[in-house]
Amino acid sequence: MTGSLTTDELISALSKSPPPPRFRADVAALAIAMAVLACVGMFWLVFGMRADLAGQLAVPMTVLKSLLPLSIGAMALWLAMSSARPEGRVLLWVLALPAGLALLLFGMRALSVPEGQLVRELVGQAAVPCLVSIPMLSVVPLAVGLWLLRRGAPTRPVVSGALVGLAVSAGSAAGYALHCSEDSPLFFVVWYGLAIAISTTAGALAGHRLLRW
C-alpha cells in the first residue's frame, strides 16, 4: 500500500504535511439541525401546516407528537457526534427512554380505544404521505450529516450512519407532525416509527460505505 517507503521516511513526510481541517462536532451538529429545519421549512411553505394548529397546541397528545420525535432527534444527533470521535462513548440506551414513552402511549391508547375504532385509528387517513414525506425530507440532511461526519473518525461507521439517519428523520418527523392531522398514538407511533426506521436503515447502509476510513 505504501510501497517501499520506510517508516522513518513516512514519519518525516507526514510531519511535513499540513494538519488536516479540524473536526468541530458543535458546528457539524448545528449544520445538520439547520439542514433539517430548512427542508421542513420548505415543506411547510409548500404543503402548509394543519389548519387547526393553534387550537391543537393545547392538546397534550398533539404536542407529544412533535416533542417525542424532537427529543429522539436531539439525542441521536448528540450520540452521532460522540460516535464521530474514536474514543467517544456512545450511550445508545438513552434512546430507550423516548422510545419506551412512545410505546407506552401506544399501549395506553390501544387499551382505551372504543370498540371498532382500533383498526381505523391504526390505519388512519394519511399513512402513505407520512411514509413518503418523512424519508424524503431526510435525504438532504442525511447527506449533509454524512459528509460532515467523514471529517470525524467514527470507529463504528454503521452505527454512526444509523444515528445520523435517526437524528435527521426524527427531526423531520417532528416538523411533519405540525402538518399531519392524525393525532392518535396508534397512528403516529406506527407510521412515524416506520418512516424513521426507513431513514435510519438508509443511514446505516450509507455509513457502511461512506464513513469508513
Binding site: L10, I11, S15, K16, P20, R85, P86, E87, R151, A153
Partner: protein, 213 residues
C-alpha cells in the same frame, strides 16, 4: 515559554541562582519528559497547531507501542506486513489527528484509532493471508516449464532487484529449492530467507505491474 513569573512562584528552587539557569534547567527537564514519550498530549497539541517537528516527534514516540500492539495481534501474518500495517496506522493518525480534543488524554484516542486501523488491516488481508509457498511444496504439482518469453521477462525483472534477492528468487522459483535451503546457501536463517523472499516477490510483482502497462 516558562517565564520568571512561574520561577518566582516556585518555592523549592535555590535562593541564589541566576534565573536564566533555572529556566534552562527546567526546559531541559521538560525536554527529557517529552523525549521519554510521557507527554504526548503537548506534542500532539503543538502538532495540530501546525508544528510539524512536534508531529514528527509524536509519531516517533508512539511508534514502538503501536509496533508492539501489531506484533502481538498479527502472529498470523509475516513480519514485513506488520510494518505495512504500522504505516497505515501512522497515516490514519495523521489524517484523523484533528478529531483528538486538546485537553483530553491522548492514549484512549490513539489506541482507538490504532485498534480500528489494525482490525481493518487484518480483515482486508484476511482473504489473502500470506503463507510461504514451501508449506505447499508437497501438495502442488510441478509447474510446466515456463514459456521462453516469460522466462526472458523474469530475467529482466530479476535484473532490477538486488543481487541477493535475485539469487534467492532464482533458487526458489526457477531452480525449485525451498526458501530455507536457498537461504542457507546465501547465509540467511530460515525465517530471514522467507521474509527476504516475500519482499523480493512483492518488489517483482510491482515491477511486473509496471512492465505490463
Amino acid at each position: 515559554m516558562t517565564t520568571a513569573i512561574s520561577f518566582s512562584l516556585n518555592c523549592d528552587c535555590p535562593a541564589r541562582v541566576v534565573p536564566g539557569t533555572v529556566v534552562r534547567q527546567r526546559a531541559e527537564r521538560r525536554e527529557a519528559v517529552l523525549g521519554d514519550g510521557t507527554n504526548w498530549e503537548e506534542l500532539l497539541a503543538r502538532a495540530n497547531r501546525g508544528d510539524g517537528a512536534a508531529f514528527g516527534r509524536f509519531l516517533t514516540a508512539v511508534t514502538p507501542s503501536l509496533r508492539a500492539v501489531i506484533r502481538a495481534r498479527g502472529a498470523a501474518l509475516p513480519p514485513d506486513q506488520h510494518e505495512d500495517i504500522l504505516q497505515e496506522v501512522l497515516l490514519a493518525i495523521h489524517l484523523k489527528r484533528q478529531t483528538w480534543r486538546e485537553g483530553s488524554p491522548v492514549r484512549p484516542w490513539l489506541y482507538a484509532v490504532a485498534r480500528y486501523k489494525v482490525v481493518d488491516a487484518f480483515r482486508r488481508r484476511g482473504s489473502a493471508v500470506h503463507l510461504p509457498i514451501a508449506d505447499f511444496e508437497d501438495v502442488l504439482p510441478d509447474e510446466p516449464p515456463p514459456a521462453p518469453l516469460a522466462s526472458r521477462d523474469t530475467e529482466r525483472m530479476l535484473c532490477q532487484i538486488d543481487a541477493r534477492s535475485a539469487a534467492l528468487v532464482r533458487a526458489v522459483a526457477i531452480e525449485g529449492q525451498s526458501a530455507e535451503a536457498a537461504g542457507e546457501g546465501l547465509g540467511l536463517s530460515a525465517g530471514a530467507a522467507r521474509v527476504a523472499l516475500h519482499r523480493a516477490m512483492k518488489r517483482l510483482s510491482a515491477i511486473a505491474v509496471g512492465m505490463g502497462k
